[in-house]
Amino acid sequence: MNQRRSFFVLTMMTFGFAFLYIPILSLIVYSFNESRLVTVWAGFSTKWYVALLHNEAVINAAKLSLKIAALNATGATILGTLAGLALARFGRFRGRSLLTGMATAPLVMPEVITGLSLLLLFVAMEQAFGWPAGRGFTTITIAHITFSMAYVTVVVQSRLSTLDESLEEAAMDLGARPAKVFFLITLPIILPAILAGWLLAFTLSWDDLVITSFVSGPGSSTLPILIFSKVRLGVSPDINALATILVLIVATGIVTAGIYMQRQQKRRDRDMQQALADNL
């Protein structure tokens, strides 16, 4: 490659990655700062972490967020997998284009619109049937499932569309019923995609502020709502400590998943080569 251009690309890449990571690093560094004024360095201290662990409100909000995120991820994964399966495998059926539209629109819909529309629905439903009574855990979970199942649908659908249908056809030819084919053939193969979808749905729910703000009621503040109300009042070091903990958890998870997937890939390649060698 042209020397000068390669230098330009390298510079831009360094700049880009620095841009992505300097804010996160600064969060981490200042979480160990003694001073309450976050950006004035006054010595190393872990007192903000101790304060955080004794903060009842933060712990409760984190517990609520975890519960909602886990429930949401499971629901969204089931619904999203069914939708992805229908879109990738069932060919043309009546109402397919409407399903495609509804399944992908939440990906690009501004969050304020999704939040507002769901709240208006919940209010109208409460008026008409008395359910859901008030807003809180149930309404937040329903709202999260609705927007995050779209991501699962896309992940599962794209995995299925790259998958060779001949395995499923072979099982059918040998007399397996469709449900059996799904559980014995399709599901094990797309399991990594489903897991990825579950994790994605979990993270989206865990992070969501805007939609949650619309559909939550008094007494049901999730972690992002709590953080937002604190951040609006200004910078505070315990938020930095919280951010550091969250970033480290995510980073560990992602790196572990990355290493695991790379190993799987390597093993698959080796198996493939072995099989080819055996056949020759």
């Binding site: 890449m13 804010p23 969050e111 619109i113 569309s161 059996k180 992070d207 992602i254 198996d271 099989a275």
Partner: protein, 333 residues
Amino acid sequence: MKRGRTGNRRSSPFVQPELMAWMRALGPYRWASVCLRAWGMTGRAAVTSVPYLWLLLFFLVPFLIVLKISVSDIRLGMPPYEPLITWVSAQVVEFRLNLANYAFLWEDALYRHAYLNSLLTAGVSTLLCLLIGYPMAYGIARAKPSWRNLLLLLVMLPFWTSFLLRVYAWIGILKNNGLINNLLLAIGVIDEPIVMLQTDFAVYLGIVYSYLPFMVLPLYTAIEKLDLSLLEAAADLGCRPVRAFLAITVPLTMTGIVAGCMLVFIPAVGEFVIPALLGGPDSLMIGRVLWEEFFNNRDWPVASSVAIAMLLLLVIPIMILQRVQGQQMWAHR
């Protein structure tokens, strides 16, 4: 080749016997399928109908409600809007359509300003994202294969960490006694802090920072597929690198460019968190206006019409995105 596939199964030996046991335990499944068939429903219809009904109820119906409320009158009470249809007597139905909310949005300078400002902010940020993201994606796609996954992982990692906290990090960097100002004061470049927080600059920065991964990933996919021999051929024929880039690389990666731009532009238009935390009182964006109309003024009808207006604004970009993504799907097959 066939034995290669059986080799695959070895990697997860525990999955299948376990599932077999499950299937046996799920004896009633057969009963369920018999019942469904008696109702005139096939297994496929059952699979499709679950997500279908969910989306109809929680995605489509809410829109119709927003549309309905956007044309109704505000009133005191709960819910704070007048019904569209009222039964005056057993035979007479009164139907009231109130377009005043939309007229209000059109005539009030504040809303027009918010509208235009959202478009401008989203447009400028998208452009900046493209300028930073393209070289990054190019560099990743041309890096050694062993590096590529690591670099992609590094691009994706911020996306998995809390969006709110990443925006919050910029407050600490940009504020008057923040990281940048302290640094510049210490070096002696400036005598008094530069005001950066609560300006439009901070909003642009926040949007570019938050949405950069959405730009890089589709660009990477497009650039990686590019056939390098085309560039070599151009160079052999005496084409300069810049011209080759404009004549070959850019047109061939156009789907990635358009997809990336739309993925940044669409959410940026409706952004609420970034202008609320980093922007000043006059960096009005339409998402923030909707939020304030709803939570502070409690005017549900106007908030609904702002939502509809925002959606109209985004219809064209969303359609472009869907078309481009359809093309990419095709290319993958």
